[in-house]
Symmetry: C2
Subunit: 289 residues, 2 copies
Amino acid sequence: MLILDGKNASQSIKDSLKNEVNDLIAKNIKPGLGIILVGERKDSHTYVRMKKNACKEVNINNFDVILPENIDESTLLININEMNQNSEIHGILVQLPLPAHINEEKILSQVSLIKDVDGFHPENIGKLALKRLENICVPCTPDGCLKILDFYDIEISGKHCIIVGRSNIVGMPLSLLLLHRNATVTICHSRTKDLQEQVKRADIIFAACGRTQMIKKNWVKEGAVVVDIGINAIDDATKKSGYRLVGDVDFAEVKEVASAITPVPGGIGPMTIAMLLEHTVKACKRQCL
Amino acid sequence: MLILDGKNASQSIKDSLKNEVNDLIAKNIKPGLGIILVGERKDSHTYVRMKKNACKEVNINNFDVILPENIDESTLLININEMNQNSEIHGILVQLPLPAHINEEKILSQVSLIKDVDGFHPENIGKLALKRLENICVPCTPDGCLKILDFYDIEISGKHCIIVGRSNIVGMPLSLLLLHRNATVTICHSRTKDLQEQVKRADIIFAACGRTQMIKKNWVKEGAVVVDIGINAIDDATKKSGYRLVGDVDFAEVKEVASAITPVPGGIGPMTIAMLLEHTVKACKRQCL
């Protein structure tokens, strides 16, 4: 059984990005990422801090704006437009989720197409669906799922992939990416009947349903590959914090039947951040070279 | 076993559209559809003729432009922009396929978003993927597949739907629509292994692979619903034309095990045309009311 180590895979990606960025800096070009964070959510602040640290590691400039929870849509749009116009910023990340009073789609569709390193602009999603991936960025988490499989030379083409969860951020774009890679794709969700039976048929399982350790050993075909995209906090008195993070897969059980599995933490999380850096460098090259 | 009669279902849709259009005409609004047809393809000319006849049936105005096979992209774009600006035209249909020297995506993304009654603009496809269906038109053939099931009160939610074929025109948008309707969706294609086995698991089968009568009786679960989107010409000496049209499903065989099945012709074909009319009326109302 192989542990698909996202720290390892993402480090290798970051190492090669660092070289790319140094080449750019030698040409007087420094990639820049603009981050917009609204409100006080602890998890969002943690993610943004991790993204900023990762930028530092590979020499990407950071421009971040932290806005109050009660900000109105038009002020938020002004901030996005400023970043759209700032030539030192090549990629823009709006940390999700936004507060409930903000129309997320409206905000995301205001990000300049060429700076949309998160790939959430409707036109970029449309191009992904239409299999026109040449000049777009695709959403980071699904991209990270594919890249960790690539890193470990796990074939996707022709495989039966099942995705549990149909979110706009993970499940839906992942299904489109997997189709593009010639997988047979099944998308399951909360309304799926016989979920266990569906999952058990798959060669590769992508768990993105946000249900703590839902996928058990007897859900998984012997030898299947398991990619766990969930991040859930559960109580753990042995930890100083009082909790620890686990995925949507019961790792301890499932690793007994899987041929390969991503851990949580240390699996898709670091890959997502590496993809954000990769997309920012790509966007910078498209805009500056 | 129930034959899902597309002529019947589409007639009922057209009857109610005719009433809607008459109400609009009473307000001095007449819905208009612009059709752009490039080249000499016999099948394309047949489809356009059928669409024009259907427009007449429900009192939709027709504006059609027929352009030579060797037209250049910029002239084609001028024609589209004229239709974009013509306030008597509420929907624009570019008959596909376009000649090989034309960049289809570029052309389709030039159609005004609000007049895109075929739903092929990347931003409209993106909104479909993002489950934002409020103000868009979705592609006509997948829409017709859903509406014929609705007409016969066949439940989609919770069902395991399989789509054979992943084209941008049918398979891909159909998968997104079915997800939106809470189906569990599997997408198969030419690279799928064990295709027969995959198909046999499904509650509802959508055949859109363009392979003549490929789906046989022993591919279909007893009681499954079968929607045949294929249109293939096969030799038939008993016909004056020397050929007849069949689908991607072996109708004669499969009707023995299916609980319901669409015929070819007379199934999804007329539904596709009815959806084009429905989208044109919808677009007209959005623009004029």
